[in-house]
């Protein structure tokens, strides 16, 4: 899940300066679960904007994740009247959702949230980062614990000298990823995996922006012929 946080209202109002009629768009997946861009947050944002003298011309919730262009386009098409009144769109979703909307409308589109991390959701109020999308998953070698994400230095070959009583020097509330990995590998009977010297990561695999077209990857069908 993508974890987001709402920008301070002052910042949102500064972004919206000069705009009067605002269309609000939420996201029914991540931002709804994490309560940053669900129905309730859209309603609260409407109240806040109206108190600041703005007009809300509509609250839109696509039927699928807002970053799914197909459903967001459909939702916007079905909300033509509201969109026609809007002089700006404010999106309560991650950056992918904001850009999906921005590419579909002709008025300025703004983020209401900051996108933070890709997380495990432990409960509705507790999430922790679990993946850095590094393009080269090492979890098979590290007992299912990601050092790229959980070690601030992203170390590949064991802990630095900075851990104290198993806690990380950077954040003393956090367990040292490599101390956890060392312990977990031994519990799993895979202690020898710690010993492997891992080569420097191939960061060319994490080059941005990335794009995959599965259809282009499929072998081309021969024209004609057949039976």
């Amino acid at each position: 899940m993508i974890i987001t946080e709402q920008k301070p209202l002052e910042e949102i109002l500064a972004i919206l300066e000069g705009h009067e009629a605002i269309l609000l768009v939420g996201c029914p997946i991540c931002a709804t679960s994490w309560a940053t861009g669900g129905e309730l947050q859209l309603a609260e944002m409407k109240v806040a904007l109206e108190e600041a003298g703005k007009r809300c011309v509509g609250l839109l919730m696509p039927d699928e994740s807002t970053c799914d262009l197909r459903f967001t386009r459909l939702k916007l098409r079905r909300s033509k009247e509201a969109l026609a009144q809007a002089d700006a769109v404010l999106v309560l979703s991650c950056g992918a959702g904001v850009q999906t909307v921005a590419a579909l409308v002709d008025v300025p589109t703004y983020p209401a949230l900051n996108s933070l991390y890709l997380a495990r959701l432990q409960r509705l109020t507790l999430s922790d980062e679990r993946c850095r999308l590094c393009g080269e998953c090492v979890l098979a070698e590290t007992g299912g614990i990601c050092p790229v994400t959980l070690c601030p230095k992203g170390l590949a070959n064991g802990p630095c000298g900075g851990y104290m009583d198993g806690k990380c020097e950077v954040d003393k509330e956090q367990d040292c990823a490599w101390v956890m990995i060392h312990q977990r590998l031994h519990e799993l009977g895979q202690g020898e995996r710690f010993q492997a010297i891992r080569e420097p990561k191939d960061w060319s695999k994490a080059r941005h922006p990335q794009r995959i077209d599965k259809r282009a990857l499929q072998p081309k069908r021969k024209k004609g012929g057949g039976g």
Binding site: L155, A156, C160, G161, M164, F194, I197, W203
Partner: protein, 289 residues
């Protein structure tokens, strides 16, 4: 071959000290300190922006020492440079006459005075050691041939007081396999614990220089116990410092005692004196080194 390497290979008890380049370009004091240590130590470590605080570079200062005939240990961290810059700096070090290097991961960026800087950590201490081996073999990390290959005496660090200790030793083993030829340790204040550590790493058959951090006060000891990973100053030493009439004298006595106790179980001492470099000759004298 560097003096440090020759001494370790000859089985001599070696002494290294440490100096930190200044924030700025006035190296007068630094060079005075180095001169003072010239005849008392085998080599002087030059720290690479210790604690992530921006300073004059360790490569430049190591070179200044070498130029004056004072042997340096060029400390290299992975914090600020990617593999392109690190390899280039290592080649530069060789042409500048630097042989001893110490490969470290480096402190995290937010712990220093430029917390906004982008942390790099493209390599880690293990892969940096491997990089040194690769360069020595006449290739770079992209398997491209080098025009002339460098030669280094590469070492690494270990923290014998880490809790838990097993992952620290497991990493030390990897460093040895990656090419570490000697180790300098985090500050040690408990020589019995250090002796147990030395037994646990005996199979690695690699020289270890025990780290000695000069205690300047009881307050400093308590601060380190709370904040410095792998360092534990026992209560009796804190009391000794607290009760000291002459703190400098007591500090020297403690350091000399620790060195005497560790002398027979390791291959050298690395003294981190934090501005008290001028006391190092007295300490070594008192320790009988």
């Amino acid at each position: 071959m560097s003096r440090l390497q020759a001494a370790l290979e000859a089985g001599e008890f070696v002494v290294t000290a440490e100096i930190g380049p200044p924030k700025g370009v006035d190296v007068t004091e630094l060079l005075e300190t180095a001169e003072l240590l010239r005849h008392h130590v085998d080599a002087i470590n030059v720290t690479d922006q210790q604690s992530s605080v921006m300073t004059l570079g360790s490569l430049a200062v190591s070179c200044l020492l070498q130029e004056r005939g004072i042997e340096s240990v060029y400390q290299v961290t992975c914090r600020d440079r990617n593999r392109i810059a690190l390899q280039s700096d290592l080649l530069s070090a060789h042409v500048l006459g630097i042989e001893n290097i110490l490969c470290l991961t480096g402190d995290y960026t937010t712990l220093g005075d430029h917390p906004q800087a982008k942390p790099v950590f493209d390599l880690d201490s293990v892969t940096l050691l491997r990089t040194v081996e690769t360069l020595q073999s006449g290739q770079d990390l992209a398997s491209k041939p080098l025009k002339g290959s460098p030669r280094f005496f590469a070492g690494a660090v270990v923290s014998p007081g880490s809790n838990p200790l097993e992952p620290q030793i497991a990493k030390m083993e990897k460093k040895v396999r990656a090419g570490a030829k000697y180790f300098q340790t985090q500050g040690v204040y408990d020589t019995e614990q250090f002796a147990r550590f030395m037994e646990q790493v005996e199979h690695l058959n690699v020289p270890v220089l025990v780290g000695i951090i000069l205690l300047k006060s009881a307050g400093m000891a308590r601060f380190m116990n709370r904040n410095v990973a792998g360092v534990h100053v026992p209560d009796h030493l804190i009391e000794e410092m607290a009760d000291a009439e002459d703190r400098v004298k007591t500090s020297i006595e403690i350091a000399a005692r620790l060195i005497r106790e560790a002398k027979d179980i390791c291959q050298g001492v690395h003294i981190m004196s934090l501005g008290w470099e001028h006391h190092i000759p007295t300490i070594l004298d008192a320790a009988g080194v």
